[in-house]
Symmetry: C2
Subunit: 469 residues, 2 copies
Amino acid sequence: MLNDADAELSRRLIERGIANRDATPAYLQELRGNYKGLGHTVALPADTAQVSDIIRLCAEKRVGVIPYGGGTGLVAGQVAPEGPVPLILSLEKMSAIRAVRAEEGTLDAEAGATIADIQRAAEAAGLLFPLSYGAQESARIGGALAVNSGGINVLRYGMTRDLCLGLEAVLPSGEILHGLKRLRKDNTGYDLRHLLIGSEGTLGVITAAALRLVARPARLATAFLAVEDPAAALTLLSLFRDQAAESISSFELLSGQSYAFLGATCPEVRLPFETAPEWSVLVELGTGPSLDPEAVLAETFEAALERGLVHDGRIAQSGQQRADFWQVREMIPEANRRIGAIASHDIALPLSEVAGYIAEATPALRALLPCRINVFGHLGDGNLHFNVFPPSGEGRDAYRHRTAEVTRLVHDMCVARGGTFSAEHGIGRAKAADLQRYGDPAKLAAMRAIKAALDPLGIMNPGAVLLTG
Amino acid sequence: MLNDADAELSRRLIERGIANRDATPAYLQELRGNYKGLGHTVALPADTAQVSDIIRLCAEKRVGVIPYGGGTGLVAGQVAPEGPVPLILSLEKMSAIRAVRAEEGTLDAEAGATIADIQRAAEAAGLLFPLSYGAQESARIGGALAVNSGGINVLRYGMTRDLCLGLEAVLPSGEILHGLKRLRKDNTGYDLRHLLIGSEGTLGVITAAALRLVARPARLATAFLAVEDPAAALTLLSLFRDQAAESISSFELLSGQSYAFLGATCPEVRLPFETAPEWSVLVELGTGPSLDPEAVLAETFEAALERGLVHDGRIAQSGQQRADFWQVREMIPEANRRIGAIASHDIALPLSEVAGYIAEATPALRALLPCRINVFGHLGDGNLHFNVFPPSGEGRDAYRHRTAEVTRLVHDMCVARGGTFSAEHGIGRAKAADLQRYGDPAKLAAMRAIKAALDPLGIMNPGAVLLTG
């Protein structure tokens, strides 16, 4: 059993020269407002040795530790609403970019560096750090690695884990894992890097990472294409793959509901179509200077028109128009917030199951309750944000009591088709019961064995990922 | 302490309807002839349930299990020369390709399917399974995943782990891990897939995998380019990246010694240059049908000539010539075997350290002993096969006693530059002492804790990866 973080712990931090402050509300809330965290002290280590000190101190005093990055996580991995009061360990002061090596396409960043800072450092070196999503100005790389976040470029460049060559971390014992390698190939024992990535702070604290940078596509081509339905969108994706192989950077789905919400709540967003299509995709191709992505996009558009896959489209004619197109996609979560969801979901399906799932789940939800459904997301990855809203003119409060029921339906139908109830957001505390429900028993048993082996006192992010007690 | 596999164990296998046979010499040797394995019984399960039965039986009887794939591993992971006699568990009868889904670019293969079988199944579906290396006709996917093998397409498509979406495996408890997912994104707890991949059969037996297929490049362009030195080769790689981004499929280094060995031992191989250059690269670009890789290759060749990076080159003019070019690369290991190495190495370095390493290690080795050095490999990945041979006219037997000393020098200098002593072959038994020597102490401690947690009896591939006793 763990103890509360107390004033004595704060004194000990000060004794050891570790900065700390009272936990302001910012550290105790999460974006969606569904959880309120416990905690009164935030430790602010200046370096990896101090992180190790903090972990050893918490082990000695049997106090839980919540690693805290940018606070942008969507599954309450960074806030503990119940249980003994934890120490919050914020990596915000460890935000240095220790090295950028343009000639080898790598960069070393401390855990507290924001995604946007890393993007800018890569850009200054003429390269691209392709991790990209709405929260990138606040989200920190340590948190992004802890949850293995996704975003709009996964189709081409992979998840956060795929961009990480090496990790430095403090294990629950306080030992420092010196794994800041920058090797493309390194088959030397169990891959602790991949084990720590996605473990959401329950097996240790990531303190720094060696990251992979890629060539910045010299030429981009971006378009909105209106399609008949999600099945047609997936056939269109195959057509693009045949034509452009790995030059496809993004392939995002938007529903008619996405446009309707944007129109109603974000008048500053320029919508690409006069009449919003029921289904559409935002596609982007990027190539080196010697190849012509606009020609490929135009040819594929034409071929898709002929085959009846696409019935309308807009190809961006300038950098400004490209930015406008992306703003449409990126403002959808904000529009959703302004409408107010009954339930939000982050599901993924095998590509061949996506269209069938949407066709099945939509009427099933409508039979369950009156609602509006905004389906959008990273279709190229099979990842949908399948979010459910009250009918027009009604607020979500009247439907709050239906949230669990809605989520159960969305997740059950997804898992039945070989899908997942958490594609890119992780488990945190919000989905720990789902993991217990849907997880493979052998996997859960192995996870518990690993957790007990590496963190026998259970101090690391207690209550996240694995249900306790 | 483990017991020997005995006649009683074989009887129990038969009772349970599990096929088995006497261990022929083929199961007890490895390609380089440095290790001779113990074992008299080979179990041949027909399905995953039988694998589970075998593991439970061995746990009950405290008998070690060696999972056996194609037998092509180069680090003695598949042969145990000492210790209690293990049971050999060959996956060769589980070789089905359970499903190919062209529309979503996935394939499910049982562990015993060979890499080449999987390549052919992908090709029949109009797609590419990009894992490719010399042993692909014999190597089986279960073994390839167990060691996380590499090959000639890693630069573009990643290692074996990067091609695996999901795993089915039997854990040391006998429990079946049902993880044959085919999702691009799935953040639901610790990534046991990545933990099992590369664990070389010490944490369980992989029985099947869901694999990622990619678009088959419609157009290829392939060239041999002669460069001044490895540093020029790496600058050339940057130039190609700027021009062609992810269209670069391969970027292989060959030394003058590579050509000399081929000329001396493999007269059937057509060499691309009349006079072998001291250093050269084999580069291949692949694109969709709408892009022109030959034009990019020709332009980049010209730009590199102007900048003095390249002084000669041959662009393949036909499919036959492309095949001839690749035969040059692929026959180097065979030429090396015919010459007979004192010591072979599979090292990787950060890209910016590669040239300095070669410049430093070469004279250091020559100062240590008279020798010829054949440096070749996957330069785009920083992965070199840095192999050391006796002087011309001498056999390796006279130098066998120097092997350990040579390897120590090669590995010490590599690790000092942030490199690894095992890039794509793994640890097995051949490098277990190296792992103990060079491994990060926190990493080794965590590995031992995980091994003890998941395999408390120590029955899975005992003696591989982690030194015992």
